[in-house]
């Protein structure tokens, strides 16, 4: 059974995508990613340390030949900044994918939807494979698809909050109408949150803090790997309907 996630002709091995932020060191990052089974890893674009050329580089630990690198525009608060970071990311020659984030508010890190929409349109025209981070807003998801997004990435909850899926019904509506993959991005806290997202029918889950911030990141990475697989299988299997009252599992017939 081929159940691979495909975006713009790119086939992905895993439905778990992971970030590389907040780890103790690069070695722990590499071990956690390995344990998660993810083949997409997100990275941020930042100034190179020009005073210490011997300092270690993330890509020395995360081999771009083995993992698909997904640069983000994290930290950008304007459309112009997001475009600048996206273009710089592509110029490194590692990836045409871009996880587009245009942040609208410092406290919640919720997206600036207007700027995200404009940036999506421009970057898609420039040939980027644009994966925008958005609210769990079905109307916005549709607008982004119309603007050229190759997938939509609604948040489960605020970035780094660990609150899990706050509005499964909106995610379900997005899934019902979307003609592109839907990847839940941000806000999951533990394995059950990931399983819920996959059981709803999401195409993948992208997370960072839930692994990097766990007591044992390597063990949590493995838990997430299983959660994605379990959730996906359950979704494909088709769950039973919810009912208010009991239905006996054992037959009445033959009772004494």
């Amino acid at each position: 059974m081929n159940d691979k996630l495909v975006i713009k002709g790119i086939e992905f091995k895993s439905r778990l995508w992971v970030g590389t932020g907040k780890y103790k060191d690069f070695e722990e990052t590499a071990r956690a990613i390995e344990a998660s089974g993810a083949d997409v890893v997100t990275v941020a674009v930042r100034r190179t340390n020009i005073f210490d050329s011997k300092s270690e580089n993330l890509l020395d630990y995360i081999d771009p030949k083995k993992y698909r690198i997904l640069p983000n525009t994290a930290g950008c608060y304007t459309m112009e900044d997001a475009l600048r970071y996206a273009r710089l990311a592509r110029e490194t020659g590692v990836s045409d994918l871009i996880k587009l984030e245009v942040i609208g508010d410092e406290k919640t890190l919720f997206p600036d939807v207007c700027a995200t929409l404009q940036a999506t349109e421009i970057l898609a025209k420039e040939g980027f494979i644009v994966l925008p981070y958005i609210n769990d807003d079905p109307v916005m998801a549709q607008r982004l698809v119309d603007a050229g997004a190759s997938a939509v990435m609604p948040l489960a909850a605020p970035i780094g909050s660990g609150l899990g899926i706050r509005n499964p019904y909106n995610i379900k509506i997005i899934l019902g109408q979307a003609v592109v993959p839907v990847i839940v991005d941000a806000g999951v806290g533990t394995a059950s949150d990931v399983a819920v997202a996959m059981e709803l029918g999401c195409d993948a889950v992208l997370l960072n803090t839930a692994i990097a911030g766990a007591g044992d990141p390597i063990a949590m990475a493995e838990a997430m790997k299983h959660a994605v697989m379990a959730g996906r299988l359950a979704y494909k299997a088709g769950r039973i309907p919810r009912k208010l009252y009991a239905t006996a599992s054992s037959p009445i017939e033959g009772m004494l």
Partner: protein
């Protein structure tokens, strides 16, 4: 000449290209992107793009992020 590199004012010799600057800094061109005065310089142009006094250069690479 004076260059502003990643926000730091530095003094460099004249006749410096982007390639030369990266070499002086000990930075491998693979895996970085370079902007001069807000314009991205393509890797194939590093050898011939001459830097001028007062240029603002940004050199970026990937770091951990979510």
């Amino acid at each position: 000449m004076k260059l502003m590199i990643n926000g730091n004012e530095t003094e460099s010799g004249n006749n410096l290209t982007v390639s030369g600057l990266l070499e002086d800094l000990g930075i491998e061109p693979a895996g970085v992107a370079v902007e001069v005065n807000m314009n991205i310089i393509k890797k194939c142009d590093y050898e011939r793009h001459a830097l001028k006094d007062g240029d603002a250069v940004e050199i970026v690479n990937f770091v951990g992020g979510g």
